[in-house]
């Protein structure tokens, strides 16, 4: 069921506050919520929380026969269906706009940007390859599920370890994790997504639209447009997506990209330290590489 639009007092208060560069939760306009990463008992199970927005990602792998067009590459499939758990406005079976945006963006950011090296997933050319399946579950939608889902997906891929495989002639032996340490995926680069929401300026004030990073649910509903940028810490832009909304000039877009570049470096540091901390905790049990 679609919820009713935000009330007029909420709308006016939010817009007036934004004109003075104040946000409802006290953040600066270009400050995002700090992500919290929780790793599960399995390798490849990650829960990412951006404030109250929470997304769970899980990676699993199995061995299949490759498609005849690409006998040397493995495959990655991404499932991201939003259930009514994220919010009661999502219905089962009918993809909402948000769901379509998230699915398409995840596809572009994680699959088409070649973040994971697909050729390294090949075991026996033309016969056996790894098929990775990344499932994204949106647990709670408090705004900006897209960034949360992309982050959870990237961290899950970095966290995942696949069983080691030995090929002798034409025979393939898969070693259990208890025999030989599982192997990490070969990842070219880690893209992170940043979403900015725009509000049309009131005619009396300055003519530049107001930009905020990482909108909350209310800000997302009242915004006049948004732009999502996916890039990695090496300053390479993977995806830049703007779906309608307030027109932006070139200087604004460049400014937004500069902000995103800075944030990407921070995010990379945060992710690396979280992954390292998790490995330290696991060393007692399973031998990992």
């Amino acid at each position: 069921m679609r919820p009713p639009s935000p009330s007029i007092p909420e709308r006016e208060f939010l817009l007036k506050a934004l004109e003075q560069s104040l946000r409802l939760d006290g953040r600066a306009p270009l400050q995002s919520r700090t992500p919290t990463l929780t790793f599960g008992p399995e390798l490849g199970w990650v829960e990412c929380a951006l404030g109250k927005t929470r997304v769970l990602a899980y990676v699993s792998a199995k061995i299949v026969k490759p498609t005849p067009e690409r006998p040397f590459e493995g495959t990655i499939t991404i499932h991201s269906e939003i259930s009514p758990m994220a919010s009661r406005e999502y219905e089962v079976g009918r993809p909402s706009d948000e769901e379509v945006t998230i699915t398409r963006m995840l596809d572009k950011v994680l699959r088409r940007s070649d973040a994971v090296d697909k050729e390294s997933l090949c075991i026996l050319a033309g016969e056996r390859v790894w098929a990775l399946r990344l499932t994204i579950h949106c647990l709670a939608d408090a705004g900006n599920m897209l960034d949360c889902a992309c982050l959870a997906g990237v961290v899950a891929l970095k966290h995942f370890r696949r069983p080691e495989v030995e090929v002798i002639g034409d025979e393939v032996i898969v070693h259990a994790p208890t025999e030989r340490a599982p192997v990490p995926l070969s990842i070219h680069h880690s893209p992170f997504c940043f979403t900015f929401a725009f509000f049309a300026p009131s005619p009396s004030s300055q003519s530049v639209p107001i930009t905020i990073l990482d909108p909350v649910h209310l800000e997302q509903r009242l915004s006049n447009g948004s732009i999502s940028i996916a890039l990695n810490a090496q300053r390479e832009i993977c995806v830049l997506q703007k779906l309608g909304g307030v027109p932006l000039g070139a200087e604004e877009v460049v400014g937004v990209v500069q902000v995103a570049v800075g944030k990407a470096k921070e995010m990379e540091r945060l992710v690396e330290s979280a992954l390292k901390e998790d490995w330290e905790g696991r060393k007692g049990g399973v031998e990992v590489r």
């Binding site: 008992p41 899980y58 699993s60 758990m85 579950h137 049990g285």
Partner: protein, 227 residues
Amino acid sequence: LRELSIGYEGLDRVDGSARFGFGWSFTGSAAALSSISGPIEVRLAAENPSQATFEVLLRPLSNVPGTESKALASTIRNLLTPSIILTQNPRTLVQLVVQALIPAEKFYSPLVASIINASTLALMNAGSIPMRGIVCAVSVGRFRSNIMPTSSLILDPSDDELSSLQGIGCFAFLFGTGQTGGSEVVWSNWQSSISFSEEELIKARDLARGGAEKVWIGMKQSVGRVG
């Protein structure tokens, strides 16, 4: 019975949510997360003029929900319906969404028990749906025994014990008013690879009843911790 881990998630956009797991360590735990929204607006097609519509959605961790999810969701719906009073809010919808937190190709008994317990906790956490009682579930396994008919039944088998079991089942009990008495079986599901007798099933059920009481006490204690 493994140590129970109960948490009230406080998911933002739903009325009540809870997480339940049997055991909480790196050595395998059957855990599920459930959320309740209700009473909320219902689609015209699913509207019932005399009571609320109760909808259950079940999602496995890996892959999209398939036939087995739908079958189990319908079982859980029938299981939980006696415990909630639906006639209080006609023409509304009570929506339960359960997310399995461990990767499993099939929904095996300890996971089903976790799902039922998590759903009950979410209903309690929401507080907006009147309930008649609390449904607690626990799984029982039967060890391989080649000698005696007095086979060893084990309560809440863990993942490493699962491979040496000949039969496994899940029992759900409805605890009504009263301190410890008054629990009736709402649902049971017993699968065995060899034949079994009715008295063995009754023994398993009694063992499960004891386990379910412990789960019930655990739930009561967790509510005390929340405040």
